[in-house]
């Protein structure tokens, strides 16, 4: 019986223009989102490559100088020496032999690689720079670099597949199912149908199943197409596990909206009033509650002012300068190249500059940690309040699945800080030992390799969101199906 009604419903839907226009819009939105999301991720990858190529070029240049110098030393005899200060070309050992100069004047770009699904949910990746320059400068300077994006566009947000799923899909679902029972009731066909040997539960279930089947086939089908078109790492298990999770999340989220439509149909009045209520609920759950929760988080745990932090950091800088340097040192600290040739002081300036960086970083680290701490508290609050809105749960879940969440970025930053220490250790040790860098040493500079978050950590953050959506869905389904036996078949 169920099968019969489903096929009847399906035939009926196929004949209405509404279904086809909704599906066409949905497909157009997915295709557009895939195109836009793909562009956004490609741009990031290109930016990372360009930055890396540039800095590697600088280092290669220094290396080439040391090679020439090595050849000269070999030909003319003498000792392969360490460059104390910058020499004019041709004279003396080149800067490339000085580890302090190499470490300070060139940066090593470290990259957070996008996951295979990054293009599906741009998340925070358009404001967090996914490639950072590591050098002897402080980590505070490093994280000041920002991705270049029009703030107007950042405020508007990306048109990615996450947007289609979170914002548009519910509208389409509700548009297809806001009048499941009410329209039949208004036309007077409901009583007639129920005169046949079919229960209202069967009727409702088949109506929902036919709609959900059509809708989800389209979403998942085009999801797969989008993945093949813009996804990366299609040969890795990681990508497919993430895609599996994406499907689970999308199913749970859509089922919630179908269940909501059923609920309103069972308890609601006429079609127009169902439509009003559903549109209102959509607005509240998808727009207002997320904005309220966000406001709550920033009001309860406000981060300190960046402006005050800047003032504090300049005070620390002046303080450090006054304690660690004489005025003279300060001047040459900025301009090593102006130190008269052969002046022994040069070495001390470079040492001083590093000591200075260390002390500034040490003084400011606690202030910066305050920011991170408040931000973590905000995120914990959001994690807790996410259950108020399926849209929040879904957004957190999709960012997590696509690897564009703040959490993964922090995981990356921790590794970058560790690498920064390693880089600093390598170059400052060599520098303090006055060890002359040879061309071969350039192959042994520390390398950065991002280690992916353990799967358990991702699941631990994803779990509550998925579970929350499941419980919400089940709760919504149970209520109307239990209440259905009181349903008034005739129009009031």
């Amino acid at each position: 019986m169920l099968k019969l009604i489903i096929s009847h419903e399906a035939r009926q839907m196929m004949r209405t223009g509404a279904l086809w226009s909704i599906l066409a819009l949905l497909v157009a939105a997915i295709v557009f989102a895939a195109w836009a999301g793909g562009r956004s991720i490609r741009r990031q990858v290109e930016g990372a490559q360009a930055a890396e190529t540039f800095e590697n070029g600088l280092r290669n240049h220094m290396r080439a100088d040391t090679e020439k110098y090595q050849a000269r030393v070999k030909a003319q005899g003498g000792e392969y020496q360490f460059a104390a200060v910058r020499h004019s070309p041709g004279k003396g050992p080149p800067q490339g032999t000085n580890a302090g100069a190499v470490g300070a004047e060139t940066s090593k770009y470290v990259t957070l690689p996008p996951t295979g699904l990054a293009a599906l949910s741009v998340g925070q990746s358009d404001i967090q720079l996914n490639y950072l320059p590591v050098s002897l400068a402080t980590t505070l300077d490093m994280t000041k670099n920002l991705e270049l994006e029009n703030p107007v566009n950042l405020a508007t947000g990306s048109f990615d597949i996450a947007f289609v799923v979170i914002f548009l899909l519910p509208i389409f679902i509700l548009a297809m199912s806001y009048d499941l029972l009410s329209s039949e009731k208004e036309r007077g066909t409901l009583a007639m149908i129920l005169a046949h040997p079919v229960s209202i539960r069967e009727l409702l279930a088949s109506k929902i199943i036919s709609r959900a089947a059509v809708m989800l086939t389209v979403v998942l089908g085009f999801g797969v197409i989008a993945l093949f078109a813009i996804g990366t790492g299609l040969d890795t298990a990681d990508t497919w596990i993430r895609f599996g999770l994406w499907i689970v999340a999308t199913l749970l989220y859509s089922m919630f909206w179908f269940a909501l439509a059923v609920l309103i149909n069972v308890y609601g009045r006429n079609s127009a009033s169902n439509g009003t209520v559903l549109a209102g609920i959509w607005l509240i759950l998808v727009v207002i509650v997320p904005q309220l929760v966000s406001m709550l988080a920033t009001t309860i745990y406000p981060t300190p002012s960046r402006m005050e932090l800047t003032i504090a950091s300049r005070a620390a800088q002046t303080d450090a300068e006054k304690h660690y340097m004489s005025k003279l040192d300060e001047y040459y600290y900025d301009h090593l190249e102006f130190i008269p040739e052969g002046d022994k002081k040069a070495m001390d300036f470079l040492t001083l500059s590093q000591a200075n960086n260390n002390s500034i970083e040490k003084a400011l680290r606690p202030l910066y940690d305050d920011f991170q701490e408040q931000l973590n508290k905000q995120e914990t609050l959001v994690q807790r309040f996410q259950f108020l809105s399926p849209a929040i749960m879904m957004q957190l879940a999709l960012n997590e699945i696509s690897g564009t969440s703040s959490d993964r970025y922090e995981y990356f930053l921790d590794q970058v800080y560790a690498f920064h220490d390693q880089w600093k250790e390598y170059f400052s040790t060599k520098f303090l030992q006055r060890y002359p860098l040879k061309p071969a040493d350039y192959d042994n500079f520390p390398e950065f390799q991002y280690r992916e978050q353990p799967f358990g950590a991702v699941m631990a953050r994803l779990g509550p969101s998925l579970l929350g959506m499941l419980i919400l869905f089940l709760g919504l389904v149970l209520v109307p199906f239990l209440a259905l036996h009181n349903y008034q078949v005739a129009s009031r």
């Binding site: 540039f54 127009a272 008269p340």
Partner: protein, 480 residues
């Protein structure tokens, strides 16, 4: 006649449960948003003013040092919140708030508040402007969609027409009725907001505040009018109330959610901004190669020969100015055109992207309204770009002042070759650089820049009224 139709419509709406709920939610949200916005931006303004004063203190009291070192220590420009940021915070969360002004480098504004917020801040801010842009149209739709189609369904439309009411009278009456119901909800909140603001008086530029509020009110009224007449038009054109509702909600989602993001993505495609890494690599390569292909050091060697010739000397020691300082300043100036080109490219791309998005205002009235609203609130790109430009002008002047002083005051150092000899300056010298003060764009310029957006809104309103008139004229007795 119009008045009695309006009174009937108004009474009916106010007695409906829909009205109570939507009005209550709307009022609560508007008040919450205004209070939160006010609290946030009065604090921000206080901090910004204190910070700008402190940074100048720090500049003056950085301790005696070489003037060029002082330029390296530099200064900060802190961006003030726009005069109506508490109502519409525009791009404030996503634009930097501080520019470091130092020797040798132009810098972008850093400190984007969004980096200090959780992921869900991307759902948008609950601001007064946001509520009026998104919720107000929905409120109008909810209150007005049954105006004609509801009466048609219940059969009263025929009755009303039989009483000799003209179709136009019916339209104006209903528009007045629905409009009044909407205003009853919105106006008190906004009035309260304006009064609180004027009493608090913590906001600067009060001289044109009245004009700003008037312009904003006009823009939002036009926007509300557009949705009001479109709602009545669709209601008159559709047979069933549920169809009216679906069409209108579809249009609302299109204007408020779908179109802004579509326009933004399309503008990113037509006028792309390079990724940071690519942009940085290009600019630094350009700097090293020289703007015109002549590397800075080659250029400077040529300049040195010219200076030697001009003063008839053959070594630096005989020059009447400190040549290290001259060199610093020259190298600085060789970078100007490179900075102008590369930073300018970014600024132009942003401005072009905004213009492309504004053009989509032809199919979406929310876009021109959004642009107008944040421009008048002083939280849009125009304001931000002007801030960046002024910070760069200040930076250049600061560096020139310091290098100039050094070149004149340290002439005797030309002859020395020991690093233990150098020039030192004090607070009096640093005071040659005046404190940074941001001059916000004049309201007249802002309005001129957005003239096309005002025209678009007016066109939309005219079109909406036209469609509504066309729609009610089609109503006749036979077909109802």
């Amino acid at each position: 006649m119009i008045i009695s139709i309006a009174r009937k419509e108004f009474t009916e709406i106010v007695r409906d449960g829909r009205f109570k709920w939507t009005a209550a939610i709307m009022v609560l949200l508007l008040i919450t948003a205004m209070l939160a916005g006010y609290q946030k931006y009065s604090t921000a303004t206080r901090i910004q003013q204190a910070a700008q004063a402190s940074t100048n203190e720090q500049w003056l009291n950085q301790g005696d040092k070489n003037p060029h070192s002082a330029a390296h220590f530099g200064n900060y420009a802190f961006k003030p919140a726009g005069p109506l940021a508490y109502f519409d915070n525009g791009i404030s969360n996503y634009a930097g708030t501080a520019v470091f002004m130092e020797a040798h480098k132009e810098n972008f504004a850093i400190g984007r508040p969004a980096t200090d917020q959780s992921e869900i801040a991307r759902f948008g801010d609950l601001s007064g402007a946001n509520i009026l842009q998104l919720l107000l149209p929905l409120l109008i739709i909810f209150l007005g969609f049954t105006a004609f189609s509801g009466e048609r369904e219940s059969g009263t439309l025929r009755q009303v027409l039989s009483m000799g009411v003209t179709n136009r009278q019916l339209l104006w009456g209903k528009a007045l009725g629905v409009g009044t119901a909407v205003m009853v909800v919105v106006v008190p909140c906004l009035l309260a907001g304006s009064i609180v603001l004027s009493m608090a008086g913590s906001v600067d530029h009060t001289e044109d505040m009245g004009t700003r509020i008037a312009l904003l009110s006009a823009a939002y009224l036009m926007y509300a009018g557009i949705f009001l007449f479109l709602t009545l038009a669709v209601s008159a054109l559709t047979k069933h109330a549920r169809t009216t509702l679906m069409v209108l909600i579809g249009f609302w989602a299109f204007t408020g959610f779908l179109m802004p993001k579509t326009a933004s993505e399309i503008s990113k495609f037509t006028n792309p901004t390079p990724a940071f890494g690519k942009w940085m690599a290009d600019m630094r390569t350009h700097q090293m190669r020289g703007f015109d292909g002549v590397p800075p050091f080659v250029k400077f060697a040529k300049y040195t020969r010219e200076v030697f010739k001009k003063y008839g000397v053959d070594k630096v020691a005989d020059l009447p100015m400190y040549f290290v300082a001259v060199r610093l300043q020259k190298l600085e100036e060789y970078d100007y055109p490179v900075f102008d080109q590369h930073y300018g490219m970014i600024r132009n791309a942003y401005a072009e992207q905004r213009r492309v998005q504004d053009r989509f205002g032809l199919i979406d009235p929310t876009l021109p309204l959004r642009s107008i609203s944040m421009a008048i609130a002083g939280t849009d790109l125009i304001q931000h770009v002007k801030f960046m430009t002024e910070a760069e002008a200040y930076r250049r002047n600061m560096v020139i002042k310091m290098n100039d002083y050094l070149s004149k005051a340290a002439v005797s150092l030309n002859a020395t070759s020991s690093s233990s000899n150098y020039m030192r300056a004090d607070e009096k010298v640093f005071a040659r650089v005046p404190p940074f003060e941001f001059e916000p764009p004049r309201l007249g310029d802002i309005v001129a820049e957005h003239r096309s957006n005002f025209i678009l809104l007016a066109l939309w309103l005219a079109a909406a009224i036209g469609i509504a008139l066309f729609a009610v004229n089609r109503i006749d007795m036979e077909r109802n």
